[in-house]
Symmetry: C2
Subunit: 146 residues, 2 copies
DNA sequence: TTAGGTGCAAAAGTTTTGCAAACTA
DNA sequence: TAGTTTGCAAAACTTTTGCACCTAA
């Protein structure tokens, strides 16, 4: 990555942070960069490792606190993929995950049929859906032929 | 609950257990009864409490092991509802949960639009979906008017 | 300067593991 | 009796909390 690109990103993220009332610290910028680059949600340990590769080594507690602050401001969202721990990704619109039970790869899927369902739930069960979690578990392309 | 009913249930569950190669112990039968009666998935602490009410007090470790054995045999299924812990319910066909963010009630919803989506995912992304998790978070009927 | 952020130590909560004793079939 | 199942002790792992020190704005 070139210097001007780094600076561009840092300015962007700095702006995001300042606009939401957060100070732009190394750890926070680092976490945003890492999550941005990532195509799959990361857990705290993975985030810590990737930060370390950037020569940033905050305490795990700090990472948790940063992620909590980001979550509160809808910058990131927390997901559970059946592992007994949380993963984090930059907040995006409806998209869901395809988790391979063999190799563990996590890929995205953009389509979401749930919109219609929300209306039905409101009509029939009078429950007002605000958000939903939808995850798929199965076999990715490669693993189907192994 | 009447005596003959209790016996009926115990026989039924005993049969289930024996048929899957599990011995019918008090804790196992108790857990099955509790999950059967329940309309929502329970976590281990809740199961322990409800067992205690039945004068059955196994160690938490035992409950975890029983639930693991049940899961392996598809008698129960484990779900995550964004709490950082697992909940367990008797295995059933596609149905999903409506979790109220205010009062915490958990109700079922029977409809599931995901079947169609699975086909699309296979066609477009070559991922073979085996199972999926779909949970809804929002406001139940009562809490909408508070 | 100061409100906000971080590190350290400790703890809380959930889940797992190993081994010896107890129990079901 | 034999193979399962359970209890106890301990630990692994994830996440949270409190307080003193530090830092970005």
């Amino acid at each position: 990555m070139q210097l001007n690109c780094i600076l561009f990103i840092m300015n962007t993220y700095k702006t995001i942070l300042n606009n939401t009332g957060l100070k732009a610290t190394k750890s926070r910028l680092g976490i945003l960069e890492i999550l941005k680059k990532q195509q799959k949600p990361l857990d705290v340990t993975e985030i810590a490792h990737q930060l370390a590769a950037k020569k940033i080594s905050p305490d795990h507690v700090t990472i948790y606190r940063i992620l909590e602050a980001f979550q509160k401001r809808k910058i990131v969202q927390r997901v559970e993929l059946g592992e007994g721990k949380f993963r984090y990704e930059l907040a995006r619109n409806d998209h869901h995950h395809l988790i391979c039970k063999k190799c563990g790869t996590i890929q995205d899927t953009p389509s979401c049929p749930v919109g219609k369902m929300k209306k039905m739930i409101l009509q029939k069960q009078h429950f007002l859906v605000e958000r939903h979690a939808l995850e798929f578990f199965g076999l990715c392309k490669q693993c189907q032929s192994l």
